[in-house]
Symmetry: C2
Subunit: 517 residues, 2 copies
């Protein structure tokens, strides 16, 4: 009980916000969009619920196809020239809206497929039968119960939520950007930018065919900036834009003792204990403040520019609330705050395994000890080079490094042996300069929404394959997130908070209309 209360406090802190627009008058496009939304809440929610009702797990070919067709129709209704384009996997829905004398072309990436679902794990909601609940589900309870969708004209409360797979991840941006277009269409407000839309159908299955698609259709995809629309807003709940992500790679290190478990009485103190060896090896890699001690680990990263640092300084810290939520007070202390820490590469131990613990404990010297590690990469870090630096460090500790289970001859020839398994894949970080004209323009657009209150982040801590777009198209990529932070992304009971959907519509309205001052 205590825990859920804490979480509620935390969530309240993060997601309370009031939309107060920095608007210039009755004809300000943002005012127009808000008034339009207020008058059409019922229609927007109904159309969104219809979209959410089409099963969209990546592996469901029929469902995916139905989604693509439905979205193509939604786009066509807004005057977008839309088509379904095949790949070796699920289709891409591509759309284009040309505007006379447009100064630039904006492209929007969204994915319409969703994570796998296990309906039995959802709280009295089927993932593909959207439920409107007058509030957030209480932890472990089926409350508040769903209400019928209000009659036309009735208001939706901002704290109400729609529960369904992809309500946030990642169908919400599709609905939000199309609703913004509707508002401009109805008000007869002309667009300032050419628009392109690339809606992927297999992001949750690893975007296996995305690189080939981008490279095959370079010309079609030409644009001045790509907005990657995915993920939740920053902890503040404010409109959120990010200019980069960390990259990622991973590895597994195993060190060895005897070739089988041996009796810790007969051999303890003498047979090499691999768990102790692993402890020393890992301790040599990171100090107790979280700083990585691998030689050169911080050398290749591209530091934030003064412009980016300035932007970062404006983002409020939620360190206290996050620590309260996750129940720890002793964070890694090498960086002043979470926002600083995620600008650097990280060496994370994901898991340890050796022998047995708990009721399975056996009084043995175990034969081996393994650590699973991921490395989050900053702009400038090459995945292979970072792994190589770690291997060099392991060798510097006196280890003979192999990539397979060592045989007897190897065991007898080398006192210290480490097997390193490298991830096959891994991808680079990517950071778009915040000081490009198009970046500054996007930032200004976002800051118009809430008296300048917006979360403008040089980089997220997590990883997205933004580098794919950059490699293929050589364009600036900027991220936009609209979902509430507690949307249960990738889990049962995924949801979108109505207030965040409304804020998302205004976010896209601002970005669609971005222009020189």
């Amino acid at each position: 009980m205590k825990k859920s209360k804490r979480f509620a406090m935390f969530a309240g802190l993060l997601f309370l916000f009031s939309v107060s627009m920095d608007s210039g008058g009755p004809d300000d496009p943002l005012d127009v969009v808000r008034e339009y939304r207020k008058s059409k809440e019922h229609e927007i929610i109904n159309e969104f619920a219809a979209l959410l009702s089409i099963p969209n797990v990546s592996s469901n070919r029929t469902g995916i196809r139905k989604n693509a067709e439905f979205i193509q129709k939604m786009m066509a209704e807004r005057g977008i020239k839309a088509r379904i384009m095949e790949t070796a996997g699920n289709p891409v829905v591509f759309g284009e809206l040309k505007v006379a004398d447009a100064a630039r072309t904006l492209m929007f990436y969204v994915h319409y497929d969703g994570q796998p679902v296990d309906p039995s794990k959802w709280t009295e909601t089927h993932p593909f039968k959207p439920a409107l609940r007058p509030g957030k589900l209480k932890a472990g309870k089926a409350e508040p119960e769903p209400v019928p969708f209000p009659a036309p004209g009735a208001d939706f409360d901002e704290d109400w939520r729609i529960y369904a797979r992809s309500a946030s991840d990642d169908k919400a941006p599709i609905m939000a950007m199309l609703a913004a277009l509707d508002a401009f269409n109805q008000a007869g407000i002309g667009l300032k930018n050419n628009l392109k839309f690339i809606f992927e159908g297999e992001e949750e299955a690893g975007s296996t065919n995305l690189r080939a698609f981008l490279e095959r259709h370079k010309d079609l995809l030409e644009c001045d900036v790509l907005f990657m629309c995915d993920g939740p807003v920053y902890y503040s709940g404010d409109p959120t834009m990010f200019f980069g992500v960390r990259g990622i790679t991973s590895m597994e290190i195993t060190v060895y003792g005897p070739n089988t478990s041996v009796h810790s009485g007969h051999y303890g103190n003498w047979a090499p204990n691999p768990a102790v060896r692993l402890a020393h090896l890992l301790a040599s890699m990171r100090d107790t403040s979280g700083r990585v001690k691998i030689k050169g680990f911080y050398d290749t990263m591209v530091p934030l520019t003064d412009f980016e640092k300035g932007a970062l300084d404006k983002v409020p810290s939620f360190d206290g609330a996050i620590k309260e939520n996750y129940g720890f007070s002793g964070q890694e202390s090498n960086w002043p705050s979470l926002l600083d820490a995620i600008q650097y590469p990280a060496l994370n131990i994901n898991g340890l395994h050796s022998g047995w613990v708990g009721t399975q404990q056996r009084t043995i010297v175990p034969p081996s000890a393994t650590a699973a590690i991921d490395i989050r990469l900053a702009e400038g870090n090459d995945p292979g080079d970072m792994i190589q630096k770690i291997i060099a460090h392991i060798e510097d500790q006196g280890y003979h490094v192999v990539d397979h289970e060592p045989g007897h001859e190897t065991r007898m020839a080398h006192p210290l042996i480490a097997r390193v398994i490298r991830a096959e894949a891994g991808y680079r970080a990517h950071r778009t300069s915040m000081n490009l004209p198009v970046s500054r323009m996007a930032i200004r657009a976002l800051e118009k929404l809430k008296d300048g209150k917006a979360a403008i982040l040089p980089s997220l801590g997590g990883s997205l394959p933004i580098y794919l777009f950059y490699d293929a198209l050589r364009i600036p990529v900027i991220g936009i997130s609209i979902a509430n932070h507690d949307n249960n992304q990738h889990r049962p009971d995924e949801n979108i908070r109505i207030g965040h959907l409304w804020q998302g519509i205004e976010t896209f309205a601002a970005v669609l209309m971005m222009d020189e001052e």
Copy 2:
């Protein structure tokens, strides 16, 4: 294939020996015993096979009772006044053989119960249908096949083996000591010592009722020395006597990160990584040479006396062969050899667990990391005091130590938290002085067997509850082992090498007749 070959070499190195007695003449008791055995091999093996045929898993009350009755009968046939004595669990078979003008009383402890069996895991042998095989079972093969027990008068080869549960652990000493008595009886050689026998029926079930039995029957159990007869001979294969064992206790340490797994991208570098914390904590406890860095860890142990050191120096090292067998070259280097290392207390990490590794690897910061640890104790170490020293060390590293899962308030109040679960039990080491008259007498007796070649060990590395006997009876306790080292104790295909059974008979003959020079 290579591995089994290596093992065969190793086993050959360890167990080849030839009995060449340091005998004084045709009437030397040891010669008498050997001649007797040679003439009665068939009878000895037949009686032993009958004993091994009675199921003796501790939990099998009927089988245990049958064993006790059979053993009582075996003893009575040798003129031993034997009786079955009840405990709250399985009965003890107690026997006494009084000798006129005996200078002292020797008591022999053996256990007649055996480890649980899974007949399906045995190689074409039922654990309670003894099989005579002309050699050691080849790894993974049902070879050599059993041969019929030879006709009366036929010789048994020393390298043949009897496969059955308890063939070594621990019925072999019963057969060996009774056969030695037979030899003296037949030759009309008078005994020099009063003999007592205490044969326990639930050692493999934890000796739950032994302490109470010893304390209730102190008077009955009065003696000058207790020989604890169990376990395999030293690596050399020579007659083996040990004067001590290490004690043992254990603990589990868990350190904490966030209260749930968190995304290693969003929080890596900032959320505390418990696997890293555990690595630092464990590395602070032991250096890379195996030396424990816990304050006072080596302070309370009673060092070996010069006498014991002298004895230890005479024991040949098998470090090279053991390393070859277990496939490592880099042993813990703080002690010159295994024999030295096991004289000291040890801090063994038995297991590590945190998050996931292998195909289950997840890119998270795990919520906790756990190490299972056992502490092998040297004479003088108190189990509780040693655990307390480790807890003090953990506190010295800045940890708040708790004995339960920490709640939210604790988590927020302390940056570093370690949960320590202490073993409920644990027992002290025990070392009998090798310089007592009775010890020197026993050593001299053993050294008569093979030109002085014998393994006389101040202490084993493993743990046995010898302190129970000492606490209750305040008598010197000396261990005697006769089984071949590769007897598969506690496993399927338990066996005794015939040559080791013969050597065991001579070992007991020598000890039974021990006296002043």
